[in-house]
């Protein structure tokens, strides 16, 4: 089976590092991370990940805006995007999902459970090849 490519986007260096390590606990994940929405847009086009994990609160281009841009571009529109955020009030989660996010993961995340949560969000890959 091909490894699943996960792109992790967060402006906090520490969290990015930890998230990457946590995700790499799953041997079938290939993880890359970047620190801004703008970087995410180019990485998404170049690398074509299977899932993008977006922090919501980022300077310049925040998570929701990044998602909108990703959805607007035909090159990235089909990549599923999930948010990872400390803002998980009900109405906020509703808003994220309404934007088309496939899921919302709460911060602080459990480093040992993160990969499992992300796996659940990956599209099933049993369609016609």
């Amino acid at each position: 089976m091909m490894p699943a490519r996960i792109l992790y986007v967060d402006d906090e260096d520490d969290i990015r590092e930890i998230a990457q390590m946590s995700l790499e606990l799953d041997p079938e994940f290939e993880v890359r991370s970047c620190s801004s929405g703008v970087a995410a847009l180019t990485d998404a086009v170049d690398w074509q990940p299977d899932l993008i994990l977006l922090d919501v609160m980022m300077p310049d281009m925040d998570g929701p805006e990044t998602l909108t841009r990703l959805a607007d571009s035909p090159l990235t529109a089909s990549i599923p995007v999930a948010f990872i955020t400390a803002r998980t009030q009900t109405h906020q989660v509703e808003r994220y999902l309404a934007m088309g996010a496939v899921g919302v993961i709460a911060k602080p995340f459990d480093p040992l459970a993160l990969a499992g949560e992300v796996r659940k969000l990956l599209p099933r890959r049993d369609g016609p090849a």
Partner: protein
């Protein structure tokens, strides 16, 4: 004899004239103090008594008159001051008249005064009735008889005997008449006073208050209303309607609310955005209550508007604050918890036992901090009402079972067994399942925490008294120490400070339980015995179980006339009813699903043209339903109209590009917007586009069919002959045509096709443009994928539906 009757009758006329005169004067004395009014009353009554004596029949020194009525009434209505003046004046005049009966006359005056005063005190504590006045009349009349005792017998035998009966009758009559007139006068004055008070209240009220008739015309309003609607004055408002002051759409919305309240005969309460008098955009709390006339018929509607902009802003500020704090605290915590978790798990390599121990301590405490922040935020959100309770009637047991299941991890770790005892099977209550789950999770973790390893925790559901359910979580732990019991539901309380470290937990759990139970209209309590264990109880009112299939409200069967059916996913029955009525008016039939499960069940069993979706349906899963629908092959083409209190917010963030969502409507639902959305849907779905796919490769047929989705109806033909048969039988909107068929060239089919049928040639052969105008597009297998074809098909269908001209030229890939 006759003389006495005549005289008294004349006296009675005098009484009436005097009282009416007083009535006129009294209109001008209303502003005087009560004492002065009483003195004035005494003076007038005194004058009445004197005139009565002066004009009465006098026989051998005895005067037969109606002074008693004046004195009695003065005491009764005026109290001491009036009594004093009336009595003193009457006695003085009687003395002046002199004669044999003077002493008897004075005694009679005094007795009457006492009787009047007695009645005055009897009714002082309550409001006067006609019976009191009647009683006063009777007792004043009878009191006159007492004087008979002190009149010398020879007089009694003569004149007095003759005068007793008429005197009795006229004393009563005159007292009663004076009483009734004075009473009415006082009532009138009270009414005027209370009118004045109400007017002042309404006038000074900073909130808008107004009354409209059934046609929406203002009948009465206070200055705040005039200010709100920007009318020049209250007078300017009367007789006009909202349409004279607001733009048509706004006035229509108001009118709709009013007719809603009028038709339902019920009070309507809404928070609505509005333009405030100072020109700011703000929020109003509006109450519309129908009022009825004396016959009980609804005569109009009373509207009350209060500016709640500040409350709304404060709530928003608080919400933002919670959100910010939670984010600011959680961000560094994410790094700490993450690092420690990874180190503790050995990701960074093997740790020495000493270091492992230290890391574990740090890791456990970071976990505790996470829980603590979550608990504090929960508590805050519940108390401040940020968390809206979604209360609905449902069975209790499944919630308990879910909570037990959710605790199972923790349970296994501590080797504790949880037993469920259900003594009230199928009991239902009005609950918010998420919040009850939270209550149970807290109680269970508490019980497990304070149980010894290998112990049992019992969850028991039972009926307690009539209509009351009790859920108990029973442990066999150490029990709660006496000294701690009073503080058990307090915040940050744990029995033993050291137990926090030992047992974990934040000390907020039970406090959250109590707060939630209060909001659910229930109660939390406990029983404990040191050394034996503790039982925590939560009590809830049981709701009578509804008939089978309670949650599915079948609105109507699909009519024979084939009306299109819409599914309303909405958990508020009132809103659902409004949407259903709007749909009905638009010629649709509808079903209502109050929760996700019902919605899914209905979607499986019936064909719907559209779905109205409340994003907050039954908790937070409205969006889940949306994703489910999109993912499911059965009804992924259904049109969705989102109707929600947060629709606008959600839409803005989407830039209107959410796939498959026809429109986003704010609550309250605007009928014009709904109409437009439905029109779009009908345009899209009146009938499915008919497509014929001519292709001998079975795999490709299947892929194409899947690619086009259920929004179209696809027929397939593997041979030219099959294709000809299909084309002869019915009309197709579009044909996807392979050229190389087992029994000939697909191009031969072109002649059989009606002109309006569009054709896409999808073939392995490289084609040139010799095909003529009959083919709209040519696609070559291997160059273009099935997905490209599907896309092209969709765009061609949309172009056809929108009535745009046929695609000029040919598309070629």
């Amino acid at each position: 004899m006759n003389e006495i009757w005549h005289s008294l009758l004349a006296n009675l006329a005098l009484v009436s004239i005097l009282v009416v005169a007083w009535d006129l004067v009294a209109d001008f004395t209303g502003r005087l103090s009560q004492r002065v009014q009483s003195l004035l009353l005494g003076l007038v009554m005194c004058a009445g008594a004197i005139i009565s004596m002066a004009t009465a029949l006098s026989v051998s020194g005895f005067v037969v008159d109606l002074r008693a009525a004046f004195v009695g009434a003065a005491a009764f209505f005026g109290g001491w001051p009036a009594l004093f003046i009336a009595t003193a004046g009457s006695i003085a005049y009687r003395l002046y008249l002199g004669g044999q009966g003077a002493s008897v006359g004075i005694v009679s005056i005094l007795i009457t005064a006492v009787v009047g005063l007695a009645w005055h005190h009897i009714v002082a504590a309550r409001s006067r009735t006609m019976f009191d006045i009647f009683g006063l009349g009777v007792s004043v009349a009878l009191a006159g008889l007492i004087t008979l005792l002190i009149i010398p017998p020879q007089v009694v035998a003569g004149f007095v005997q003759q005068s007793t009966l008429p005197s009795l009758v006229f004393r009563f009559l005159s007292t009663f008449i004076i009483g009734v007139l004075l009473d009415r006068q006082e009532r009138r004055r009270d009414l005027a006073m209370s009118n004045m008070i109400y007017r002042a209240m309404v006038r000074e009220l900073p909130d808008s208050l107004n009354v409209k008739d059934v046609n929406g015309r203002f009948i009465a309003a206070n200055p705040a209303t005039a200010e709100l609607v920007r009318a020049a004055s209250v007078e300017d408002l009367i007789g006009k309607t909202d349409f004279d002051f607001y733009p048509k759409d706004v006035a229509e919305r108001f009118r709709q609310d009013e007719t809603g309240a009028l038709e339902a005969g019920q009070t309507l309460r809404i928070d609505q955005p509005a333009l405030l008098p100072d020109g700011r955009q703000g929020w109003l709390y509006t109450l519309k209550a129908p009022f009825r006339d004396e016959a009980g018929k609804i005569a109009g509607v009373i509207t009350y508007n209060r500016d709640i902009t500040e409350q709304k802003q404060n709530a928003q500020l608080k919400n933002d604050f919670i959100s910010t704090v939670s984010h600011e605290l959680r961000t560094p915590l994410t790094s700490i918890r993450g690092s420690l978790g990874l180190i503790a798990a050995g990701v960074g390599g093997e740790l020495s036992p000493k270091v492992a121990n230290l890391v574990n301590i740090a890791h456990n405490n970071s976990e505790r901090l996470v829980l603590l922040i979550n608990d504090i935020l929960d508590m805050e959100k519940i108390e401040s009402g940020v968390i809206a309770f979604k209360i609905r009637q449902m069975p209790v047991r499944p919630v308990l079972e879910q909570a037990i299941a959710a605790s199972s991890n923790y349970m296994a770790e501590s080797r504790i067994r949880i037993v469920m005892v259900d003594d009230a099977p199928r009991a239902e209550a009005n609950i918010d399942p998420d919040r009850l789950h939270q209550v149970m999770a807290n109680l269970l973790s508490n019980a497990i925490k304070f149980s010894d390893a290998g112990g049992t925790v019992t969850v028991k559901l039972q009926r307690r008294d009539r209509d009351m359910l009790r859920i108990s979580v029973i442990d066999q732990g150490a029990g709660i120490p006496e000294a701690f019991r009073s503080r058990i539901f307090g915040k940050f309380e744990q029995a033993d400070a050291s137990s926090t470290r030992k047992k974990g937990g934040t000390g907020l759990g039970l406090s959250i339980v109590k707060t939630i139970m209060e909001k659910l209209g229930g109660a939390a309590s406990y029983e404990t015995e040191e050394g034996k264990g503790t039982s925590f109880h939560v009590d809830l009112a049981e709701a009578p179980r509804q008939a089978e299939k309670p949650i599915l409200v079948e609105r109507r069967e699909r009519k024979r006339d084939g009306r299109l059916r819409v599914l309303i996913c909405e958990d508020e029955p009132d809103v659902a009813a409004v949407i259903a009525a709007l749909l009905e008016a638009e010629g649709f039939s509808s079903d209502v699903a109050p929760d996700i499960d019902t919605a899914k069940a209905l979607l499986r069993s019936r064909d719907y043209v559209a779905l109205t979706l409340d994003i907050r349906l039954a908790g937070e899963s409205g969006i889940d339903l949306f994703h489910d629908i999109r993912a499911s092959p059965v009804n992924s083409d259904i049109s969705v109209i989102v109707i929600s209190a947060v629709a606008d917010e959600a839409r803005r963030s989407l830039n209107g590009s959410a796939v498959g969502i026809v429109d986003w409507l704010e609550k309250p639902v605007d009928s014009a917007r709904l109409h437009a959305a439905l029109a779009k849907i009908v345009g899209r779905r009146v009938e499915k586009a008919q497509i014929l796919h001519v292709e001998d490769d079975e795999g490709l047929l299947a892929v194409m069919s899947a690619g086009l989705g259920p929004g179209v109806s696809i027929a397939s033909a593997k041979t030219l002959q099959d294709a000809r048969r299909a084309v002869a039988k019915r009309r197709f909107d579009l044909v996807i045509l392979d050229i190389a068929l087992p029994d000939g060239s697909g191009l031969d089919l072109l002649a059989d096709l009606p002109l309006e049928t569009r054709v896409i040639v999808f073939s392995a052969a490289e084609m040139d443009e010799k095909l003529g105008d009959r083919v709209q597009a040519i696609m070559t297998k291997t160059r273009a994928s099935e997905v490209d074809v599907a896309k092209l098909v969709r765009s061609m269908l949309i172009a056809t539906r929108d009535g745009s001209a046929p695609t000029p030229g040919k598309e070629r890939r």
